[in-house]
Symmetry: C2
Subunit: 134 residues, 2 copies
């Protein structure tokens, strides 16, 4: 069985017992999905290479994986045109777009609190008696 056909499994299965938002976090905030959705939302419908160029550090393999996952979850559509050379376009769906207010909220929280986090880290790290998180 090839790697690509291996059935996808969520990274976290049980913590949702203690935390009702865990399923949402699994869908929306698994690695690379946030930049992909953001770029799709920001720059509109675009091709595979455009996505790859905007998310500079992602490899084609991983980009494909995440796009498939987002497509499966109904966040993104994939449109293939019968042309040579091939042209495939990705676009965010209404479901994906419905996350926009949440993303805006996160951006706002970051603008207001990120420096607090960094100062907390500096304070913590300055104390030699405290262990650093592993």
């Amino acid at each position: 069985m090839t790697e690509a056909s291996t059935r996808w499994r969520p990274a976290v299965a049980e913590p949702e017992l203690a935390c009702p938002i865990a399923p949402v976090v699994d869908i929306v905030f698994s690695r690379w999905t946030t930049p992909i959705l953001w770029v799709l939302h920001e720059y509109g419908r675009q091709r595979f290479v455009e996505l790859a160029r905007r998310i500079t550090t992602i490899t084609p393999k991983v980009l494909t994986q995440r796009l498939r996952q987002l497509e499966r979850d109904g966040m993104v559509t994939r449109t293939q045109h019968a042309e040579v050379p091939p042209r495939v376009e990705y676009e965010i769906t209404d479901l994906g777009r419905s996350l926009a207010p949440l993303f805006a909220g996160l951006a706002e929280w970051g603008a207001e609190n990120l420096d607090r986090v960094h100062r907390a880290r500096a304070t913590y790290d300055a104390d030699p008696t405290r262990p650093l998180p592993g």
Copy 2:
């Protein structure tokens, strides 16, 4: 050098170039942090074992790691009492509590859209010509 003293590094470094909320996501939505913050917010100040019992599947090692990280980021305080047997209490900070509206937004999004996601998955998986995400 022990495992616990290995310096922590963020899981994602560069995607923030394409996505301004990536730094926030790194801090707030790395694995296990959401259930921990949720439980601390929901049940208030509590001891290590209480946390462990409520987040049923987490191991003590990982719980310690994530609590250290949250403490370093200023989301959680750790209070150690000079008693025998030892008593340590964890409490969410104001900074941690400031995430509450965001978490509520995520919960609301889930309530409204999670079934859409599941239906999208079912539809996607029902089509045998589509590859499953790897």
